[in-house]
Symmetry: C2
Subunit: 399 residues, 2 copies
Amino acid sequence: MKKLKLICTHCGEKYDIESIYFRCSHCNEPLELEEVQSGRINQTAHLKQTMMERYQDFFPFLEIDSSFSLGEGFTPLIPSRIAKEDLNINNLYFKNETVNPTWSFKDRGTVVGMQHAIKLGYKKIGTVSTGNMAVSVAAYGSRAGLETFVFVDKNIAPEKLNPIAIHKPHLIKVDGNYGDLYYETLEIGKEKDIYFINSDQPYRVEGSKAIAFEICEQLNFVVPDYVVVPTSAGGNIRGIEKGFREFKNAGLIDKLPKIICAQASGCSPIYNAFITEKDTISRIEHPNTIAHAIENPYPPSGNEVLRMVKKNDSLCVAVTDEEIIHAQAQLAKEGLFGQPASAVPLAAVKKLKESGRIKESDHIVCIVTGSGLKYTSALEKHHLTSLEAKMENLRDFLK
Amino acid sequence: MKKLKLICTHCGEKYDIESIYFRCSHCNEPLELEEVQSGRINQTAHLKQTMMERYQDFFPFLEIDSSFSLGEGFTPLIPSRIAKEDLNINNLYFKNETVNPTWSFKDRGTVVGMQHAIKLGYKKIGTVSTGNMAVSVAAYGSRAGLETFVFVDKNIAPEKLNPIAIHKPHLIKVDGNYGDLYYETLEIGKEKDIYFINSDQPYRVEGSKAIAFEICEQLNFVVPDYVVVPTSAGGNIRGIEKGFREFKNAGLIDKLPKIICAQASGCSPIYNAFITEKDTISRIEHPNTIAHAIENPYPPSGNEVLRMVKKNDSLCVAVTDEEIIHAQAQLAKEGLFGQPASAVPLAAVKKLKESGRIKESDHIVCIVTGSGLKYTSALEKHHLTSLEAKMENLRDFLK
């Protein structure tokens, strides 16, 4: 491990990098790895490099073990074809995280968290999730031959359960308050020697930095004006923001983009606190949105995202399910099929353009976080149609 | 377009590269683009390059239009963790095609086919498919703003229909002999100015070459002994084989691997002809396998695959549904979740190792063609389980 400290995002208290204390023992806010101040990209032309090897200077490990990599990262940045016409925005891009090994951005954080776990000698890893993260940790845990514990909500749908179960983790449906389970597992992890890579765990946050690194490379180091991130627990948006900060420290870019926190109106605790100018978030009692992947009623990094957005002079947005469905269809028009949560940034951009906050000339990147195949029943909302024809009548039919 | 001809794979008759005759008018066998004799890899270190740009010397276009690329290709080659222990094979790799933009290898062929269609000035494209190819053509067609026709079998399951329909092609369920539909669309295409990118269309075959190119790069140009390909229509295996041939022509590799045609016992027309030493395939009357993605009863490139396998001194293998399900579980243990068809190569390797045809020291690459999320109901065959616990009892539970 490099000589870095874990620092409380709120009070600044420092912790040892080799510890598995992931929240501050004083204020219970999330810890974060000390900001990297310099480094360079290890640019090579071959197809064998891993994400962690390319950006090793910015990760906290002296040596990278790539033996359990599944080829995460290096996802495409796709320019919008229709934003000019549809939204009157000249430069809109989609960072397509759906082509990661388990088809969501989560793999980036999982591989970094596991790197830490394995360096510390852990033989057991775990997570608390009902969706993308559960699949990711189950796949990588199996890949590395580690005993893997996945705690899910007891009401999880069978269609979501089986793609986790196929990797044969200890898969446990838990009856109880799901929000509390996050904190409970941090304690259980210490007692039972299980390394938990939960949603906003500091090393998982480190993994998300690479999204920012790649965007910089893909835009020839011209920093976009806005990066729009679907936000649930808050780990991904924090990582992306930290990535830009560190590339700026290293002199690779000359300014920071504004990072927009995008939520679904049916579960928008961070947005709610932001518009009412509170310093802390409040729990959403009855979350209800089609964007299940970001339906966290009490995000563990919610307060830190609030602080970050303010410091970054940025903003939060919330969009309705109707706006999300519309944006999912627009994404599909671009050739991208994202799960509903992944359409939230595009819906947010439309809203901000209409309100005048985003200008025609702004350069904007939307993060498309996970594959639409993860939740195909959402497609029922689109009322999709097909036609029927007999083969012998096909020619008439096409007239 | 470069100065190349389309050549009949059987009789050698030549056709103009700008034509859309994709089968020989004399013998009705598939056409193939003339073999490239020299070229180099356009190796760059940046993350913006597309597959067609990297291997442009080996594609038939003088200039590449990357505006409708979705970032296809550059998929990881993952070394097996458990093959040594499980199969007593030292060097087994998985080429993970599930991380393409629509989560199957089809995107490679689609982007090359569309390149040709657009260069010829077509405004309409189409395909005949019930699965991976339908989604791929629908997504890329929408991406490029082309009118897109997708013909599917009338009995397609709704869960497969909606991920095609979300891209809003003209989606037509056809009542009639599905095998005949392939040939029918070639005629309709000429009449109605629709460029059909069907399963083994020559430009789609060109796209699959890049799988071979990347494997060569990822193995440092040390050619594997075997490459095992799940085979349905025959387009993908033909492309992969042609890719190795062309890299050998260009002096980038010094020998050819043996390309193994792997099929499901429930629908194995090429394997059947191979073991009975026939020169042509016969139609399977009642195909029945869990590997639906390779359930083509009368593959349009079947005869050419037979010729190719013989010339290549290689072989065909067929595996049962039970062996496929077992291999799908083994893949998941490696961290990869492939659809049943994608597990066929691993099942074939196991069989060939047990029969002594494959040796412990052989280097083998299995092509993992499409994501397991495409067909999650197959997971019911795995009898997957989970446990239940109350939160207050979690500690006792983990003892």
